[in-house]
């Protein structure tokens, strides 16, 4: 090392200039989020000023060191929540950045300016702001965890607790070779879910090839959200207990904070209209009456056995009818508009775009579509993942976009549409798209497809590769503009909701992920009918009547029409509709279905009773079959197809929506 300190070596200049530039960039990011500063940004600006100071001191650059020291002090106070980020303070810091660059390139210049600015920065200091009680005192952290926390990490934990969020401790083990990549991926997945505050490495026995980590994560998301972020790695995850506050009145204050905070999760509680609850209470009252009637029957000795049985069956029918109504009302009460989820995505996109240093606009449509509350919760994490993928890897940086003739700001469209008993969510970005050729290449490299098959693989097969675990986890570096990381986990999660996901992408134009879900996870009652030896399910909610089928009816405008209970309705043979051989001439039963004012008679061969069904959407290949909304398991791994009554009505009654004519 040169002992001549007057002229710093080139390595000093270049590192100092680079650090100052990065500091300047981050200060601009900080300016955009000054009201709610991002802790990661705060920490990096602080660290940059800190290294600049150390660097300057090491190379005997006294003026630069002093100025950096003054900036570092102020940034440290920002970071520890002791001073607020204000425009005036940011102006001074940006001024300092310019001076850093001049001083680094030409030591000895701007000496007086540097001194004056350092003094002004120091005068920006203020007394400690009142922090109140230290919430960290209530966090029951093991002493060996507590003592390795830096001052900054303690501050971050305090902030987590003040927001009413939990601190989670997660213990994981990773191989020595890959732990850094694993942790990077974890950190990326945690964005939007929580904040990784501390990473404490520990040994696993005396093994040298494996490390254990205890991670402290601050998060308002629930356990499923966090587990999702760990992407299938075995993890011992538990919340760090917090002692109750002793002060009276403190609780209400805490609760108020929780309500107001951008808690980042869709709440686990549900607001229900009082009128709905009243109706539910009425149903329960009705059930009590039925209960009483059944008890009364046990004493009814005067009845003949036959009359007694008839009476019992009558009460049973009443009971079942009332339970159906109750179930229906509960299902309705569980429905919430997607707006909750969409609003959350708006906030996330702003934050993630800022973190990625990109301009992104999120547009939404269909926020009014209603969906089961539990689905909204479970959908949140996969959707966050897809949005992050779109921002990090899909949308190009503004400069590149301009070069490609696109608007500077990337656009993400999140839309929802209800189609019968299903909701289709689509997330479309106008970014770079998936490089399918590269997917093909990676698939071969990873041994997911052999060369011959990869060459012949069509879109569907390549899609499948994109969602397969071997593809996602194997590459930390983005293969096709980064897509693929964690998509297998997204797919698994969606499948857990009886949903399907597929992707459509055109290079250079963007990517659409489409998630198709049932409207509710709860069971739907269905009538099982036989058609040419096969069994189909008709959702009971749309069944109006079941009759013996007699007579062929008359033909009107190419449709078969039958008079049913004084109304003439169109009739269709399901065997014909699905191209099955007719087993029974003319069919045996007529199942009258209807949605709104539209009616249709379905001719079937057999009735197999009612069942509670959990419907699943069909895979993309079967998704196109008209008249089928999904499949349902009916015990012993027998699967039946569920009729899409809305689509059948459309199909048969094409043209004017109303064809009911009073006879």
């Amino acid at each position: 090392m040169s002992s001549d300190r007057a002229r710093p070596p080139a390595e000093f200049s270049s590192e100092a200039v680079e650090t100052a530039e990065a500091l300047g960039r981050n200060l601009l990011i900080l300016e955009k989020c000054a009201a709610d500063p991002d802790p990661e940004v705060l920490n990096s600006v602080f660290r940059q000023a800190h290294s600049l100071k150390g660097l300057a001191a090491t190379f005997g650059q006294k003026r630069l060191a002093e100025l950096a020291h003054a900036a570092e002090d102020l940034l440290d106070r920002f970071r520890l929540g002791k001073a607020r980020v204000t425009p005036a303070r940011l102006d001074l810091l940006l001024e300092a950045v310019e001076l850093f660059q001049r001083l680094a390139e030409e030591p000895g210049s701007a000496v007086d300016e540097a001194q004056a600015l350092a003094a002004r920065l120091s005068s920006m200091d203020e007394g400690p702001e009142r922090m109140g009680e230290d919430p960290l005192e209530r966090l029951e952290l093991a002493p060996q965890m507590r003592r390795v926390l830096t001052e900054f990490e303690e501050h971050r934990l305090r902030e987590t607790l003040r927001r009413g969020e939990l601190v989670w401790a997660a213990r994981v083990e990773y191989p020595l070779e890959t732990f850094d990549r694993e942790l990077e991926q974890l950190k990326a997945r945690l964005r939007g879910v929580g904040e990784l505050v501390s990473t404490l490495p520990g040994p696993v026995g005396d093994r040298l090839d494996v490390l254990s980590f205890v991670l402290l994560v601050g998060s308002g998301a629930g356990e499923p959200g966090l587990r999702f972020a760990f992407g299938g790695v075995p993890v011992d995850l538990r919340p760090v207990p917090v002692r109750k506050e002793r002060r009276a009145g403190a609780e209400t204050e805490g609760a108020g904070r929780l309500e107001g905070a951008e808690s980042g999760t869709v709440a686990r509680t549900l607001r229900v209209d009082i009128a709905r609850l009243d109706a539910l209470m009425d149903d329960v009252g009705e059930l009590r009456l039925i209960g009483e009637a059944i008890r009364g029957l046990s004493d009814a000795r005067e009845l003949s056995p036959r009359a007694w049985t008839a009476e019992l069956l009558r009460e049973h029918r009443r009971l079942v009818r009332r339970l159906d109504i109750l179930q229906d009302r509960l299902l309705q009460a569980r429905m919430v508009p997607l707006r909750l989820l969409f609003d959350r995505m708006q906030r996330l996109v702003r934050r993630m775009a800022r973190e990625a240093g990109k301009e992104v606009v999120l547009e939404t449509s269909g926020a009014e579509v209603q969906i089961d509350k539990r689905l909204v919760e479970e959908l949140s994490d996969p959707l966050v993942h897809l949005v992050r993928n779109a921002i990090d890897h899909g949308i190009e940086p503004a400069g590149l976009r301009e070069g490609r003739g696109k608007a500077r700001a990337g656009r993400i469209l999140l839309s929802a549409e209800q189609l019968g008993a299903r909701v289709v969510l689509a997330l479309t970005d106008d970014g770079g798209g998936v490089d399918w050729a590269r997917v093909r290449e990676v698939a071969i490299q990873r041994g997911l497809l052999d060369e011959e098959r990869a060459r012949a693989a069509g879109d569907r097969e390549l899609q499948a590769v994109l969602f397969s675990p071997g593809f996602s986890t194997a590459s930390a570096v983005s293969p096709m503009s980064g897509r693929g990381v964690g998509l297998d986990v997204v797919k698994t999660n969606i499948a857990g909701l009886s949903g399907v996901i597929d992707v459509e992408s055109r290079p250079g134009e963007g990517t659409t992920f489409r998630v198709t879900l049932p409207v509710t996870l709860a069971t739907v009652r269905g009538l099982l009918v036989g058609v040419s030896g096969r069994v189909y399910a008709v959702p009971l909610s749309s069944v109006l009547d079941v009759l013996a089928h007699d007579g062929e009816g008359t033909m009107e405008n190419g449709r078969r029409v039958l008079s049913v209970r004084g109304r003439s309705i169109s009739v269709v043979s399901l065997a014909e509709t699905f191209g099955l051989p007719r087993r029974t001439e003319g069919g045996v039963y007529l199942v009258v279905v209807g949605v709104a004012e539209r009616r249709l008679g379905l001719v079937v061969d057999a009735l197999h009773g009612q069942r509670d069904l959990v419907t699943q959407a069909l895979g993309p290949r079967l998704g196109q079959v008209p008249g089928i909304s999904g499949a349902a398991e009916v015990g012993h791994h027998h699967t039946v197809l569920v009729l899409d009554v809305g689509a059948l009505l459309d199909e048969v009654l094409r043209g004017p929506p109303l064809l009911v004519a009073e006879a």
Binding site: S44, T58, V148, L176, L200
Partner: protein, 124 residues
């Protein structure tokens, strides 16, 4: 075979400065880590006689590194020296409590650093 010193410091210039100072000590060899993660990877590959670490680093902090070394039966005996900026008393005190032997405050004085390293390597 000289004594091996591990330097953990994310600022390149600062790391090079410490390395250059120690390399001038006869019998001392230097291995550099640019982050806490790098240090975790290097630890099992060499037998270090001394570790010098910064506290504020982006992946794991210096305190966590000290804790790791002191908990691990393979590295427990290796002495540690902390390098911190001035004013970071909280972090310095924790480092010493965790088992670090010494602390140094930036800006570093090469003579003082060299003297300390000699002492811990028994080269005085």
């Amino acid at each position: 075979m000289g004594y091996k010193v591990l330097i953990v410091e994310d600022s390149t210039a600062s790391r090079e400065f410490i390395a250059a100072t120690i390399e001038q000590i006869e019998g001392a060899e230097v291995v550099c880590a640019g982050s806490g993660f790098d240090a975790l990877k290097l630890l099992p590959r060499f037998r270090f006689d001394l570790i010098i670490t910064d506290i504020n680093m982006p992946d794991i902090n210096g305190l966590e590194l000290i804790n790791f070394v002191k908990m691990n039966p393979n590295y427990r005996e290796t002495p540690l020296i902390i390098v911190t900026g001035e004013g970071r008393q909280h972090d310095r005190e924790r480092g010493i409590q965790l088992g670090a032997s010494e602390f140094l405050i930036k800006p570093l004085q090469p003579d003082h650093l060299a003297q300390l390293v000699r002492r811990y390597l028994n080269l005085a």
